[in-house]
């Protein structure tokens, strides 16, 4: 079935450690790809986006993501996590064929940061 999958529901890392959050999609054509972050009780903030071109995308707050077509993946990374990064992270796609721009979300990954 067509979907966006975030395999890790919950991840805990130590402050200062590196982070990788996984995202896989299963669509025939490469969609437009996004990562969002949501702090408790807040709206979603766009971290970064990929439409085409360079497969390594830089975002805000020191995050980056790499698009790998062969693996249908768009994993989010950060070299050194800060306590303020604790939040829920959503991967999302928009199908290129879409004429509405409807976002399809993954289930989300909750990141906990240990001091």
């Amino acid at each position: 079935a067509q979907s966006v999958t975030q395999p890790d529901i919950h991840i805990t890392v130590s402050e200062g450690a590196s982070l990788e959050l996984r995202c896989n999609y299963s669509y025939g054509a490469t969609p437009y790809l996004f990562w969002y972050v949501q702090s408790p009780g807040q709206g979603l903030q766009l971290l970064l986006k990929y439409f085409s071109g360079d497969t390594l995308v830089q975002g805000i707050k020191g995050f980056e993501a790499e698009f790998k077509r062969s693996q249908s993946s768009f994993n989010l990374r950060k070299p050194s996590v800060h306590w303020s990064d604790a939040a829920e992270y959503f991967c999302a796609v928009v199908l290129i064929s879409s004429n509405t721009g409807k976002l399809i979300f993954g289930q989300g990954t909750t990141l906990q940061v240990k001091p």
């Binding site: 009780g41 979603l44 290129i96 879409s98 004429n99 509405t100 721009g101 409807k102 976002l103």
Partner: protein, 111 residues
């Protein structure tokens, strides 16, 4: 800076009341969206609009209606609020197939 604002951060209403949630964007986006977010269910699309006075049902439109009279403003209406509509409501806007930008959310409690 991109800005999407929602009329209230917190709202408490009684069962049967008519509830209006308003969203305003200042980016001249064509598309606007209303989602609800519940623990364990993720974000679910209620309605979206791709132009003034145009709307389409999302995944869970039952019990809701919308209005878009101006490009920058998109309202979500609960005709007769029920307790199962207690939720976090999120508005977003975008260019067609572009990144969606979200408002801060409205936490609605229906008692």
């Amino acid at each position: 800076d991109v800005k999407v604002t929602q009329s209230s951060r917190y709202l408490v209403k009684r069962t049967g009341e008519k509830v209006f949630l308003e969203c305003v964007q200042d980016m001249d986006h064509e598309n606007m969206f209303w989602y609800r977010q519940d623990p364990g269910l993720g974000l679910r699309l209620i309605y979206f609009s791709y132009d003034v006075k145009m709307k389409e049902k999302g995944d869970i439109p039952e019990g809701y209606s919308v209005s878009r009279e101006k490009k920058e403003r998109f309202s979500l209406i609960l005709e007769s609020a029920s307790t199962n509509q207690t939720s976090m409501y999120l508005c977003a806007s975008s260019f067609v197939r572009g990144a969606q930008y979200f408002g801060p959310g409205t936490r609605l409690t229906v008692t």
